[in-house]
């Protein structure tokens, strides 16, 4: 099966009101080219589930998010994501704020077809107070109360991988695949952009196959977009773009998201990349030191 498609074909599968999971973590390996394609479309009223970075900030600022399921939104070196803060502080954003690990459990429950997974995470905190849809339950085995973390079922997941083949075998060669395997499994449709399209033979080497974290049956579409994680990182290929994130954050103080989009978004990814210095410039961005 050939799952290759373009970014616009991929985003055409996202309908108004859908629940969309976004892989990566903060400013790291976000499917930003697919997020930009959403910004070029007129899709709206999304429920977004993410370990959030600028993906969440941009979609919120552009008015595409009805509800956000999150544990944090951060650009790491800029700890507080400026457009996410504006969205929260203007009061227009419905939220389901949960613990990082609860999000993992919710994705696992969805992937495994379970209605919930019991946990003690969230007990005693305002996670429970502010999320009436998260129920406390009795255990058949002890006298304690437990949080029943509901399944976070996703209509669509967007993920960026280092490499993929046309059949949807996806490789994340960087140090961490974060929760992307669970985003892939929790979604009805999983759309994966990749920095490099490879032949299936590439994975014959056990060294390469070891960095494939979900089966191809969980991948619905493969969208080859070299540099497609920019301005987030795609370690080991490139780091995150510090000056670009600074300019993005500055736009939240002056000019607003429209000025940022006018400056960078362009009509397609080729135009975006020419505006940020080209693929070679993206690929030469130094990896961060933690």
């Amino acid at each position: 099966m050939d799952k290759r498609m373009t970014a616009s074909e991929a985003v055409a599968q996202i309908e108004d009101g859908m629940t969309v999971g976004i892989g990566g973590w903060g400013p790291r390996r976000k499917p930003m080219a697919l997020v930009r394609e959403i910004l070029r479309s007129d899709v709206k009223d999304l429920t977004v589930v993410a370990y959030g970075g600028a993906d969440v900030g941009m979609l919120c600022a552009a008015g595409r998010v009805r509800k956000l399921v999150f544990a944090f939104v951060s650009l790491d070196f800029i700890p507080l994501e400026p457009y996410f803060r504006q969205a929260r502080q203007s009061g227009g954003l419905e939220v389901m704020e949960i613990d990082e690990g609860m999000m993992l459990l919710g994705l696992r429950a969805a992937a495994w077809g379970l209605p919930f997974i019991p946990t003690e995470v969230g007990l005693g905190t305002d996670i429970i107070t502010h999320n009436p849809e998260i129920k406390l339950i009795d255990s058949p085995y002890d006298d304690k109360e437990w949080v029943a973390m509901p399944a976070l079922k996703l209509d669509v997941s967007l993920i960026h991988a280092d490499r993929a083949d046309a059949r949807g075998v996806c490789q994340i060669a960087g140090p961490d695949h974060y929760m992307d395997d669970w985003f892939a499994r929790a979604a009805t449709t999983t759309l994966v952009s990749c920095d490099e399209l490879v032949d299936s033979e590439y994975f014959h080497s056990p060294e390469q196959a070891r960095h494939v974290h979900w089966e191809r049956a969980a991948t619905s579409g493969v969208i080859p977009i070299p540099g497609g994680a920019h301005p987030s990182s795609c370690s080991p290929l490139y780091g995150f773009d510090v000056p670009h994130f600074k300019a993005y954050a500055a736009s939240a103080k002056e000019g607003g998201i429209q000025s940022y989009l006018d400056s960078y978004l362009g009509a397609d990814e080729a135009e975006y990349q020419s505006r940020v210095g080209g693929l070679d410039a993206i690929r030469s961005i130094e990896l961060p030191t933690y």
């Binding site: 005693g124 996670i127 502010h130 961490d176 695949h177 030191t289 933690y290």
Partner: protein, 268 residues
């Protein structure tokens, strides 16, 4: 006498929180907590485990900041973020973090400040991993600017982590299940060892008075009869800290980078 900065005093005081932990993952978020955990791993508790803040466990802590091109970190295993939760929920971890608010119960806030929850006046990071950390394993806090906005009157605007609050105690749990270890600030070291888990002064930094701590805390601090001065760093500890922090990031953590012992006539 060896000269040291207030930041270095705090690093040493904070490192003591890990002394008796045994073999657990020490997670220090921020420069001073990370140096504290690293100092403990290098000196007082060499059984501690630590990550590279990315995806590998280390058998030796990494120095902070940019490292030489030929630097090789001492990996001992892969430890991606999903696996961190396997460790967190097993309880074999002690985290030291810097929340925005800490109330009298030791509950903390890292999320919505002021206004309403639907429309906070100031939105911070979000709950992050605080709910899970607080119910799963021991936690300590570092506060670089001890003031009544951090140690606030009343309850946190948003409770990210559980504390010793009887009204929020989950059914079937005991207050003694909650394990808040130390609170290290630019003024003092505290814990929740007072009567009924009241916050308690453990030691005062040089030049700091009990009154100063109380004035800067929005709720009563339990003061034992005998409050010692925070133990000064040794020359050996200072050398280890300097090696772990070659770019001197610690100098930027407390406003003005004051000395550990204030000059005669100056308050801390």
């Amino acid at each position: 006498m060896t000269e040291y900065s207030l930041a270095e005093l705090c690093i040493v005081a904070a490192s003591e929180a890990f002394n008796d932990d045994g073999e657990v993952l020490a997670t220090g978020i921020g420069v001073i907590p990370r140096l504290a955990a690293s100092l403990a791993m290098k000196t007082s508790n060499t059984d501690l485990m630590m990550t590279d803040s990315e995806a590998f466990m280390l058998s030796e802590p990494n120095p902070l900041g940019k490292r030489d091109a030929d630097f090789e970190q001492a990996n001992e295993s892969w430890m991606g973020f999903s696996r961190i939760f396997d460790n967190v929920w097993s309880g074999k971890r002690h985290a030291m973090l810097g929340p925005t608010q800490i109330d009298r119960f030791g509950q903390t806030n890292t999320s919505a400040l002021g206004g309403s929850y639907a429309q906070p006046k100031v939105m911070m990071l979000g709950a992050r991993g605080f709910p899970g950390n607080s119910i799963s394993h021991p936690n300590s806090f570092f506060v670089p600017d001890h003031n009544p906005r951090v140690f606030m009157e009343g309850e946190c605007d948003f409770v990210s982590s559980v504390g010793y609050n009887p009204d929020r105690l989950p059914r079937g749990h005991q207050l003694s299940d909650i394990d808040i270890r130390r609170v290290i600030t630019n003024l003092c070291v505290m814990d929740f060892g007072g009567p009924d888990y009241q916050i308690r002064l453990r030691s005062l930094h040089p030049g700091v008075t009990v009154e100063q701590v109380q004035e800067n805390t929005g709720y009563p601090v339990f003061v034992p009869d005998d409050v010692p001065q925070t133990t000064a760093p040794t020359a050996e500890q200072l050398a280890v800290i300097a090696a772990l922090d070659p770019h001197n990031q610690r100098a930027l953590q407390i406003r003005g980078n004051p000395p550990g012992v204030p000059a005669a006539g100056e308050a801390q």
